[in-house]
């Protein structure tokens, strides 16, 4: 089963309960939006799913692996890739090299054939390079392959980070605020890109996003968190009209409107 199961996951930071008994299921091939006000525990959840943090309690399952027992670097080999809220590219590498660095689990790059200049090594290098170029083309950055990643615009850096995540051939993508801080044009591009990934199929995506137009446009289902607790789950419309979600975002006035 390729669904992602999150079961009763909690995480404490000292006395702060960042996640409290959160459970949900992400069906294969769907896009799940994860929303909630700042400090709701969204990034904590992604960090736990990608192995950077361990849950204080609860379990997660994907492809028959117990995720809560795996280290961060083991997630990539079972097909889980992620991006970061505060873009973590390799600044002194070109765009192409960033994507090539992402091929770690899909490449061999053995030392011995390279020491002896065997043709097999050259073939592999050429194949990996072509694959990396194709991945760059998917996010529309193939014309900037040789630019240093730190010289890209903000929106381009976000797309390059997605390309690097795609280069490890994942089946589950965890995107942490892919449209944060973007202007409308860039937001449109990233929404289109995520939509394209859905059409190509094969990807299960969990995406944190604050821009509700983006969430509405791409999500099959939405999970809302507040203060570490899951307060709503369902289609976008169901969640957006849920009184607890409205309360979490806007607060209550004390007197109910008639």
């Amino acid at each position: 089963m390729n669904r992602l199961l999150v079961k009763n996951v909690s995480r404490n930071f000292g006395g702060v309960r960042a996640l409290d008994d959160v459970s949900f299921v992400v069906e294969p091939g769907t896009i799940h939006g994860l929303i909630g006000p700042n400090g709701a525990g969204k990034t904590t959840l992604i960090n736990i799913l990608s192995g950077l943090l361990r849950p204080s309690a609860g379990s997660m399952k994907y492809k028959n692996h117990d995720l809560h027992r795996l280290a961060a670097h083991q997630m990539a080999s079972i097909g889980i890739a992620r991006t970061f809220q505060n873009i973590r590219l390799f600044p002194h590498m070109s765009c192409l090299e960033n994507v090539q660095a992402g091929q770690h689990v899909t490449s061999r790059r053995s030392l011995l054939p390279r020491l002896f200049h065997l043709p097999s090594a050259r073939r592999e290098d050429r194949r990996l390079r072509e694959q990396a170029m194709a991945t760059l083309a998917r996010v529309g950055l193939d014309d900037k392959a040789h630019y240093q990643s730190r010289n890209l615009s903000y929106g381009e850096r976000r797309r390059l980070e997605i390309a690097r995540a795609l280069s490890l051939n994942p089946s589950l993508l965890l995107l942490d605020e892919p449209a944060a801080g973007m202007n409308p044009v860039e937001t449109h591009e990233i929404t289109e890109l995520i939509g394209r990934l859905r059409e190509e199929g094969g990807y299960t995506i969990l995406v944190i996003e604050h821009d509700m137009h983006v969430v509405e446009g791409i999500s099959d289902r939405v999970v809302a968190l507040d203060h570490g607790v899951k307060i709503a789950e369902g289609s976008f419309d169901e969640v957006a009209t849920d009184p607890r979600v409205v309360e979490a975002y806007l607060g209550t006035t004390g007197t109910e409107r008639k």
Partner: protein, 290 residues
């Protein structure tokens, strides 16, 4: 030809030391390329040198065997030290490896088998210039190829951003230990070559100051490419001889000029002397892209 022979007769030992220092600088480059600031490589050279010396003086092993023994001993010590120490980052790692260097020095001073403070003497003088440069060429080739291997891509990614590297499936701790051990083995090999070149090895030969020198070779030469540390080691090792030729005697002035070069490089060539070559290449790449 006659002129070359005369040149070698006068400057042979400088040429040899350039080779050994370049090899040591390369050994540190492996650890630096993974973003680890180690001050332990001089101590690994001491471990390799003493082991090689002891194996040939006390056990009468042949040259190749004593060199291999020194290399493996340094690698083994690197593994034992690396496993706990590599959990530390940045200056803390530097401090821990610095302490390790002191431990090695004090052990060499106080043990009987290492000959105490006077050092281990009577090591057969069999290292020749071509051997040093053959090993150096081999090490440089190995490091250049290593960079294009899976391990090499992983190490550079780790230096750029450890968290992101882990999310790409790169096993951080394992790769750190591997890089540390490779560096230790290269340093041990250089130490063995040195012991067999110099008749003797003393606790002072690979002290704290050498550890810092290795770092300076890398900074001045540039850590990004395989020839950077070699350039740095060659230039700074040859410098006192060049100054002597110009009529400036060694001593405090030499240290001052070393410092001045380091300052100028950091200010104007942040990627080291190697970037002088690198810049031309990257502008060629840019021209090709346009």
């Amino acid at each position: 030809m006659e002129y070359l022979l005369q040149f070698y007769a006068i400057y042979g030992s400088v040429i040899n030391f350039i080779g050994i220092n370049a090899l040591l600088a390369l050994s540190l480059n492996v650890t630096l390329s993974a973003g680890m600031l180690s001050l332990g490589n001089a101590a690994f050279a001491a471990v390799g040198g003493y082991t090689a010396g002891i194996l040939s003086v006390h056990f009468n092993l042949p040259y190749a065997a004593s060199l291999a023994g020194g290399t493996c001993a340094a690698g083994l010590v690197g593994l034992v030290i690396g496993l706990p120490v590599l959990r530390l980052r940045g200056v803390f790692l530097a401090m821990a490896t610095l302490a390790f260097g002191e431990v090695v020095r004090l052990a060499a001073v106080n043990l009987d088998i290492t000959g105490g403070a006077e050092g281990l003497t009577g090591i057969p003088n069999v290292t020749t210039t071509w051997m040093i440069y053959l090993v150096l060429a081999g090490a440089a080739y190995f490091i250049a190829v290593l960079r294009r291997s899976r391990l090499g891509w992983g190490l550079v990614s780790m230096r750029e951003d450890e968290t992101a590297a882990a999310s790409l499936g790169i096993p951080i701790t394992y790769y750190k230990v591997v890089a540390f051990v490779i560096g230790a083995m290269l340093a041990g090999l250089a130490g063995g070559l040195y012991a067999h070149l110099n008749y003797l090895i003393t606790p002072r030969d690979y002290s704290f100051f050498v550890a810092v020198d290795l770092l300076i070779y890398n900074i001045v030469g540039g850590t990004g490419v395989w020839y950077g540390p070699i350039l740095g080691a060659a230039m700074l090792t040859a410098l006192p001889e060049v100054l002597r030729g110009l009529g400036v005697t060694a001593g405090p002035i030499r240290m001052g000029i070393n410092g001045l070069i380091l300052l100028l490089v950091i200010l104007f060539l942040p990627n080291g002397l190697a970037s002088l070559f690198e810049r031309r290449r990257s502008s060629a790449v840019r021209a090709e892209a346009e």
